[in-house]
């Protein structure tokens, strides 16, 4: 997949650290960067235009006063990657407040989206989540295409929700039998995910990290505690909102 049209959307305030990273990512993808400003006042907008033109004279900047206008522009423009800044917010505050980026991407299901963590400076180590139920070959190909161009290091990860299956099976089977069935299920799932990965990558056999636990909690936690810069998930994944909110680094939501 080619990432031809990359857009950097900024809402109310301009994150220069993220701009530099977005520019770097767009360069690695081999294309320029379009800038979309949302809800900026004229004075601020002028300042940004001036500063941006100093570093990247060819960058195009579009300004909109509302989410609706900016989203309509994106629907028409059909970008291949939309990058935004994700506010660093304490989880306790996050309970009561959605970030601007989260509000903006609501309903934007037709683009590859990358929420850049407010403090993110690099995109060198990427974790690609493979969801057993919803991950497709197309998604893996897009994520791989992006990652192989941008990152120095990457991994595929699959989280097996063992306790969930155990509880489900224990309702209909004896405890020991349920545990045995879950163990078999575990092997089957890994095999199926590995096969999917292999098919998507044209036969290439890449390693797969396997962890256990609730994926919407465990995968973002693994990404944070193992020093990954970006976690990538697919659009159709169940509990997408949870993955986005539980992630405390950059997160990509890619088409599937």
């Amino acid at each position: 997949m080619e990432f031809k049209k990359n857009v950097f959307v900024q809402i109310e305030k301009f994150n220069w650290k993220n701009f530099s990273l977005a520019k770097d990512i767009a360069q690695k993808l081999g294309n320029g960067l379009y800038i979309v400003l949302v809800s900026f006042d004229k004075e601020e907008e002028e300042k940004i235009r001036k500063e941006v033109s100093k570093v990247c004279p060819n960058n195009k900047i579009n300004s909109f006063s509302s989410f609706g206008e900016a989203k309509t522009f994106l629907e028409d423009f059909k970008p291949t990657l939309v990058m935004l800044s994700q506010e660093k917010i304490n989880p306790l505050l996050h309970i009561f407040k959605h970030t601007d980026a989260e509000k903006f991407i609501k309903g934007l299901n037709n683009f590859n989206i990358l929420l850049l963590w407010e403090e993110a400076e690099k995109a060198e180590k990427i974790l690609i989540n493979i969801d057993y139920e919803t991950a497709t070959e197309k998604y893996i190909q897009i994520a791989y295409s992006f990652t192989s161009k941008v990152a120095k290091e990457f991994s595929f990860i699959y989280s097996f929700y063992e306790s969930f299956y155990e509880h489900m099976l224990m309702k209909t089977h004896a405890d020991e039998e349920a545990k045995q069935l879950v163990a078999e299920m575990f092997k089957e799932h890994i095999l199926e995910v590995k096969n999917l990965l292999k098919r998507a990558l044209g036969g290439e056999d890449l390693p797969l990290l396997v962890i256990k636990g609730d994926p919407k909690k465990e995968v973002p936690y693994y990404s944070r505690t193992h020093g990954y810069d970006i976690l990538i998930i697919n659009h159709s994944i169940e509990n997408k909102e949870s993955y986005i909110e539980n992630t405390e680094n950059s997160i990509g939501i890619f088409l599937d």
């Binding site: 636990g213 909690k217 936690y221 509990n239 909110e245 539980n246």
Partner: protein, 446 residues
């Protein structure tokens, strides 16, 4: 007095009122002794054995035993335990404890001060059990990570909870009973008890913090700021914000409904179980997984204890105690000290709910015949019954719940560990609170 003629005692011809009266006392003392001898017996089978032996031999009929169980308390416990379990599952407490660790910088003195203050304030507006269910897991997690002994910290927090809960109509079950039977409003409690409780809490805090300091329990074990920073980060385990949001919305609505339960004519237990069911459905969490976290052993303990105490109630022991107390209440000023102290002692030994209920009926009767204003006696009963709950581990529901939570985490609270910390605090707080109440009526008149 209804006694079961088909019981074992009935078959042996031993079902006279007097025999059952004394047998209920013997059963109570026996059960209590088993609970105290925790090295030999676990307190849960001890309480259950006492309760069901009372039914088995006929001290109390199965129907009376069923009626003795305070369903409101049991439902409240189950409901709040489910809500708190879902919040635990969401990682809310680990995030909150990381924040508390960050704010206190791991300093034991700041930790105990912050937690006891917060607990006392929360307990004034929430049920003590709910507050304890909320605070104890955080405290255990923090203290364990900081290599401190969690048990004294947990006990101090429970003591603060029982003190704070004394301040308002909704803070502690005895106050709910007093408000309901005595006809007092939320504001009556704020005006008459809150200032006294505030001073009592400050003095109580000085006492338990002083005791902990003397025992060297407030010495920081982890001093390196970098190590504390690492612990803070380690504390932030996996979380799910969407689940936290759902849990807190339901928790918030539950608390609002608690405030309105008198208007809605609903018991707190009904509200808690209803809201827990709503959260279980909304969160889509597996009920079986959540029920694993519910403190069933604590609930079983309550079940047994309620039946044993029900035996005392039905055989007329409470009535006799209440009449004895009424006989010595000849004037309101000495009555404050007598009733307050007696309530504190009895509430420390038996659960304060049935005792408060029995004494409330005595005060209602007394108001009809006495030539003096009995209002000060109601406040003395509230202070004694609530603060007396700090005397022993079974003095108040919150103590039992905290003990269950601590045991589950691998830090069992021994009966005498609690008494060692709880008794001095109870003595000081009861003296201060009753002294202030006495002074208030002495200065401002009856």
């Amino acid at each position: 007095m209804e006694h079961n003629t088909h019981s074992i005692l009935g078959l042996l011809g031993l079902n006279s009122h007097e025999f059952i009266y004394w047998l209920s006392i013997v059963l109570f003392i026996g059960t209590y002794a088993m609970i105290v001898l925790e090295k030999v017996f676990h307190r849960v089978p001890a309480a259950l054995l006492g309760g069901f032996l009372a039914i088995f031999i006929g001290v109390i009929t199965p129907k009376q035993a069923w009626e003795s169980i305070d369903h409101n308390t049991i439902f409240l416990l189950i409901g709040m335990m489910i809500i708190v379990s879902i919040l635990i599952e969401s990682g809310f407490f680990s995030i909150l404890s990381a924040l508390a660790l960050k704010i206190t910088k791991g300093n034991p003195f700041k930790i105990i001060l912050t937690f006891t203050m917060l607990t006392a304030v929360l307990s004034a507006f929430l049920d003590n059990v709910t507050t304890v269910l909320f605070m104890v897991p955080i405290l255990i997690s923090i203290t364990a990570k900081l290599k401190l002994k969690p048990v004294p910290y947990v006990i101090a927090t429970v003591l603060a909870s029982n003190i704070g809960g004394t301040a308002t109509l909704i803070g502690d079950p005895p106050n709910i009973i007093i408000g309901s039977l005595g006809g007092f409003t939320f504001m009556d409690f704020i005006v008459n008890l809150a200032p006294i409780v505030l001073i009592t809490h400050i003095i109580g805090t000085i006492v338990f913090i002083g005791m902990m300091k003397m025992q060297g329990l407030l010495e920081p074990q982890v001093k390196d700021p970098k190590e504390i920073e690492r612990i803070v980060e380690e504390q932030r385990i996996e979380f799910d914000i969407v689940l936290m949001r759902k849990g807190l919305i339901v928790f918030g609505i539950t608390i609002i409904l608690f405030f309105l339960h008198h208007i809605l004519h609903l018991e707190a237990g009904t509200i808690a179980l209803f809201m827990a069911s709503v959260l279980l459905l909304w969160s889509k969490e597996d009920p079986e997984k959540i029920f694993e976290r519910v403190e069933w052993t604590t609930l079983m303990f309550f079940l047994g204890l309620f039946i044993v105490i029900g035996g005392l109630e039905h055989s007329g022991v409470f009535e006799d105690v209440a009449h004895f107390v009424a006989g010595i209440l000849t004037d309101p000023m000495s009555g404050i000290l007598i009733l307050g102290s007696l309530s504190a002692i009895i509430s420390g030994i038996v659960d304060n709910i049935p005792f408060t209920m029995a004494m409330s009926y005595v005060l209602i009767d007394l108001a009809k015949t006495a030539s003096f204003n009995v209002e000060p006696l109601w406040w003395a009963l509230a202070l004694g019954a609530c603060l007396g709950g700090n005397l022993t581990i079974i003095g108040a529901s919150a103590n039992v719940v905290a003990a269950g939570l601590a045991e589950r985490e691998g830090y069992p609270i021994k009966f005498f560990d609690f008494v060692k910390q709880g008794t001095p605090v109870t003595i000081v707080t009861v003296i201060v609170a009753l002294g202030l109440l006495y002074l208030k009526y002495l200065i401002f008149g009856l």
